[in-house]
Symmetry: C2
């Protein structure tokens, strides 16, 4: 028996040797050991007290079971309001998260906050395809537009009898006069929010397939785009994104910005703001935020931000080459701001990467000519397909030399590509909640992340489009991951956070600084965990799993 | 570009080199090539016409989408009645399936057939914990029992006012007099069937977690056990299992028989039939079936059957050693019938394999003493856990020298164990539909099978407990697998079928014969596909995926 247990221990060690935490687990500080135990004990206790684990045994069959179908790592849109009240969530919200490497800017600020920002803009108007009534409220989408001052209207409401379909109403008026029979201004807010977020009845009911939920998801961008892409609002949006990220413990961000729209709307209501002007604005906001944090003595919490230039995987009048040249020009002028290039959108239905081999190859040649370096950071394998075009995108992303892979959800089906990703340290930007809401998985325990981690694939946890799932920051993603495993613990989460910095597009010196700052934050955080939760978990502490 | 495509081709080839079909795909006969193309064309056409692929684009958002959430490989209990009407299903139902290596005998015969067999037995009675009324029908389970003749009752109904709770009513009477207000005899049948099967509203609604659905699942065994474990009925049950398997194209079966109950009920209604007598009966039925098939000129369709001796992973008065000794004694007397040993039940809640290391080690020593060879065929990793006890069972199954792994669902999380399984050819008995109904995955595209296949893990597709999901045989499992991939095709399915024979517990000579017979069946089958479907798919044929 002793022999057997020794053999067993060794087999487990070999099996887990490639994990991101395998080295560190051998050399934990006393504080780290304590923090790890505390978090494991809290997780185990909350698995029972919050998520009902062991609440049903196999002999408890009741034909009309009315107890909720809850479990750790369950469907996020249903779990969210339970999760936020847990100790584990409170702890993770304080954890330093490192870098956010995969997030689409237009879906990073909470819907209600975006609406608040929009209400501050007198130019912002809203219209609907019909007068809003209780019967059509759910089926009608708001359409926003910032108008030039000479087109501002004096209409008062989307709900009164006299409303002419598709006429713009000033946003604050439309809200203020939203009919009381519909619920008044608060119902207006809910209506807008429901157009910007995916709700559980859609994801888990009416739109419960990847294709259908993507239709809803795309519609949220159509609604939000017309709010965000108004420069005065956009500046505040970027600011809000940066500050809320820092508040969530994120020290560096690489948002993907969609430059498909060639112009943004300016303060004068004209669609004439160039991509260059957007970058100038972004840089200004970024510097303001840095200055502000410095004034607050928080400069160590934020290293900065760089932009991933993206356009859509679709045909347009101009082909992708216009965007590639645009990206080159921007990189030349703002070398510190442009992190890389990506093609985005629903892989299952839009154009495959094979359609872009020539322009992207040329793009690399042009960089050489111009002495620039713009890594590709391509979405690939965000799909359930096995050999489908979206799954095959992984071959092309890797052959095209992508620096990281956006999602790479289906990568675990590809042994050779896994080998290459490990050898070349091509990190996967894994977005757990996004994958679940967009129906690639129905819960975290079914997500391939543990496969990736155990096989030693480089991973950076990311949020993708948090506003669409009613969240912001990275705490939620870390939470869903941490509750769905008994192998990984707090130390693992810390290693994933460090890796997100390591796999970022920061320059070497910046990266070194970011990693050094991370260690300071980590020490402070683990000390806080031990100080705050030692007593509480003293009785809950249990043997660590093997 | 040409260079790129050459590189791409090579990368794909390397990535897929470990697949079960990689060698064969290089040397297809003309007939196989044609059959493969036909099946791929039909699959592609039915993906659209049956499963609505491409029916929604990302721009088709409708807030109140009423279209069904269908897609290829979707939840089986909902898909079943759609699938059976497809051409692909018709084709697969004719495909030779090789061996069935993972099926629990008590859940292999359709519920309605079992009920029919039970109605033929005058000794069979049924009772309920209360008089059945419309209000409690759904919440009450039928309890069956074969009674000794002196205890047969003359009660007439479970539904009449005078029914005293827990009094036994002769089965045929209970059915015949089931109150018309409840729906009469047909409603009785539905009531029994719903206690023997998992229905979609349970799996996908009220019991939509692994823990809860296992509670329902276990209850089906409690209901069926009292029907099956009556020797006169059991003989007919075994016969039905064997014949329906052969009809489904299965040429060899290794059912797991649960010997947890030490005695079966005999024709006299006494619980005194020993395990030895069960095996004698099994052998007799097996020989009858063989003789019958021979009379029909079908002897080449069936190689035979061996039993996997199983008991439950639970404590009982006697410990597991009683069963191990019992298994040894049976193997000694029926060496041709006992294929191996397994411990079964819900891994997430029952005892882990670590509790059985000593007895199982001793079991091996005892085999040596007695000159016997009883391979372990252990369930392990039938779980969503990541480092949970059920997931850790994989380490023990392998260290204990298991010949195959029952399920191994979580094996893909274990790089070292994957290596060992490939090296030692430890096959995974993968049960796609079972995994989905029991909520390890919510659809086939989310199932890890493509990961297993692409990594070259040895796999045998199995049905587990088909009667619980209203199916029999292996056609359904092959169907769900085949519609959920664009890499695998008919040839892959054939290779999986051949492998099931290869990984069986047949003796070498038997195995050789079975494989030779398979090739005859395969040739006939592929010729039939080409003959039957060439014209139909002529216009649907499309380029094979890479």
């Amino acid at each position: 028996m002793e022999d057997y247990l020794k053999q067993r221990e060794q087999l487990i060690t070999e099996d887990r040797a490639q994990r991101v935490d395998s080295a560190r687990m051998q050399s934990l500080t006393h504080i780290e050991q304590k923090a790890e135990s505390i978090v494991r004990a809290i997780r185990a206790a909350e698995a029972v007290s919050v998520w009902g684990v062991n609440g049903t045994t196999i002999f408890d069959y009741l034909p009309d079971d009315k107890s909720p179908n809850v479990f750790p790592g369950m469907a996020f849109l249903t779990a969210r309001n339970i999760a936020v009240h847990t100790q584990l969530f409170q702890i993770l919200s304080r954890m330093p998260k490192g870098a956010l490497l995969h997030a689409h800017l237009d879906a990073t600020v909470k819907a209600r906050v975006l609406l608040k920002l929009a209400l501050e803009q007198p130019a912002m108007h809203v219209r609907a395809a019909n007068r809003i009534t209780p019967n059509n409220l759910r089926a009608t989408l708001p359409e926003f537009k910032a108008l030039p001052q000479d087109q501002w209207t004096s209409l008062a409401s989307l709900t009164e009898d006299s409303y002419v379909p598709n006429e713009y109403v000033p946003l604050h008026k439309a809200r203020q006069n939203f009919d009381q029979s519909l619920g008044g201004p608060e119902a207006f807010d809910d209506w807008v929010v429901s157009a910007l977020e995916i709700n559980p009845s859609e994801a888990y009911g009416t739109h419960n397939t990847t294709a259908k939920i993507w239709a809803k998801f795309t519609s949220t961008f159509m609604v939000s785009g017309n709010l965000c892409h108004f420069l005065p609002l956009w500046r505040k949006y970027v600011r809000e994104f940066l500050l809320s990220s820092v508040d969530d413990g994120i020290s560096y961000v690489e948002p993907r910005i969609n430059f498909w729209y060639k112009y943004m709307t300016g303060a004068d209501g004209q669609e004439n703001v160039t991509h260059r002007e957007c970058l100038v604005a972004f840089d200004e906001v970024l510097n303001e935020v840095k200055a502000e944090l410095k004034r607050q003595g928080r400069e160590d919490e934020f290293v900065g931000a760089k932009i991933i230039y993206t356009t859509l995987r679709m045909d347009q009048g101009d082909n992708v080459e216009w965007y590639l040249e645009d990206c080159l020009a921007l990189k030349k002028e703002f070398p510190h701001l442009i992190a890389g290039f990506d093609l985005v959108g629903h892989e299952d239905s839009l154009k495959p990467l094979t359609d872009y081999i020539e322009p992207l190859t040329k793009f690399k040649a042009r960089q050489k000519e111009l002495g620039l370096d713009i890594p590709l950071l391509l979405h690939a394998g965000e799909t359930l397909g096995d050999g489908s075009a979206a799954d095959m995108n992984l071959y092309d992303a890797i052959l095209l030399g992508t620096k990281r892979i956006g999602h790479g959800y289906s990568l675990v089906k590809h042994p050779k590509l896994m080998e290459i990703c490990k050898e070349k340290t091509i990190a996967l930007e894994v977005c757990p909640i996004s994958n679940e809401v967009l129906r690639l998985t129905t819960s975290m325990p079914m997500h391939p992340l543990p496969i990736m981690i155990n096989h030693g694939l480089p991973v950076a946890l990311s949020s993708d489009d948090p506003s669409a799932w009613g969240s912001t920051g990275l705490t939620y993603d870390f939470y869903q991951v941490l509750v769905s495993t008994e192998v990984s613990g707090l130390i693992t989460m810390g290693e994933l956070a460090r890796d997100s910095i390591k796999y970022s597009c920061l320059e070497d010196a910046e990266k070194e600084r970011a990693l050094a700052l991370y260690e300071k934050q980590w020490l402070k955080f683990t000390e806080w965990v031990v100080h705050e939760y030692s007593a509480a978990s003293a009785d809950g502490t249990r043997k660590m799993p093997n």
